[in-house]
Symmetry: C2
Subunit: 191 residues, 2 copies
């Protein structure tokens, strides 16, 4: 896994990433990607054997980026574990409110590609699991009684909030989720 990837490869990845996200993976053709990235079709196919492989690479790249962004944004906003748990939905709120927000790319990918065996599906499952483990760790540090169950409840909230943002087009789901979360945390202390 050479960390020193080609510049051309990166240009393709960036263009594809942006196009896939803004307009939907299925609705973006190879021709468009090469037009935006300013790369020849022959070149694209030298780096990626097929569109599916390109999709996979884009999603893996996005997953790394996103998780890093999310966790560091959360750590900037909260000091104690409990603060950080609640801050996650402030971070998400700002994401949902961004004018370029077009839904959670990982949820989008799963539902846009019906096939559950597609590599992009696994990437999304992994992202969800990474989030769950991160939350579980915070919950354990915060002294929540059952961090595992708590983290699964958390996944409901983040999924629900993302869906509201995508379908209704409003970040308000994040606020509601934050309220529910604080109720859940309280309920898991005094028991």
């Amino acid at each position: 896994m050479t960390s020193e990837q080609s510049d051309t490869r990166q240009k393709i990845l960036d263009a594809a990433s942006e196009l896939f996200y803004q307009r939907g993976i299925q609705h973006v053709g190879i021709n468009e990607i090469i037009a935006i990235s300013g790369v020849a079709k022959r070149t694209l196919y030298r780096w990626f054997h097929s569109k599916d492989q390109l999709i996979e690479a884009v999603m893996k790249h996005r997953a790394e980026q996103w998780l890093h962004w999310f966790e560091s944004a959360v750590e900037d906003r909260g000091k104690t574990p409990k603060e950080r748990l609640l801050a996650t939905f402030d971070v998400l709120h700002s994401w949902y409110a961004d004018p370029n927000f077009r839904g959670c790319p990982f949820i989008n990918a799963v539902l846009e590609i019906a096939d559950a065996t597609h590599p992009a599906h696994h990437v999304s499952v992994n992202v969800r699991d990474s989030i769950r483990q991160y939350v579980m760790r915070l919950a354990a540090e915060a002294g929540v009684t059952d961090p595992d169950a708590f983290s699964q409840q958390y996944l409901l909230l983040i999924g629900g909030a993302s869906l509201v943002a995508t379908i209704e087009g409003t970040p308000s789901g994040a606020d509601n989720a934050k309220n529910v979360l604080s109720v859940l945390i309280d309920a898991n202390y005094k028991r």
Copy 2:
């Protein structure tokens, strides 16, 4: 709005509905729909001007069916409003556990069709609103302090549970959602 629709039209609608759901709207061609429904292409286009119009009709039909099924299943399982609120997630659990379950068709439609102006998008928004109003009514009857806020929190849970069922492939999200819901109901009484 003649309720006495043609038999042929209904056959097309049924075949399209099933195919769209099982394999994804975008991945089903007109030719497949006419093959399954045993109808000539000319006939399909006499009843539906375009594929988009067929999609719209299918989604509207599914929305009616689903809401009716959901509400009556809930009313079968619970007597009091509070019981019914909790029973919603038992009903959803049985839905998610069905071997033919392929995700919530309304969420699928929105994310599969990137275009937010597509009629199918509106259908999905309407379904969510119908659910919200139904829950809000139950919550009011159950004596919850703020039924409106409660119903929005509920939407998070049902969305989250559906997502878990679709992505992870397990109905367990419904159980977690039910637990969260009961915590929420309690929190909204004593305040």
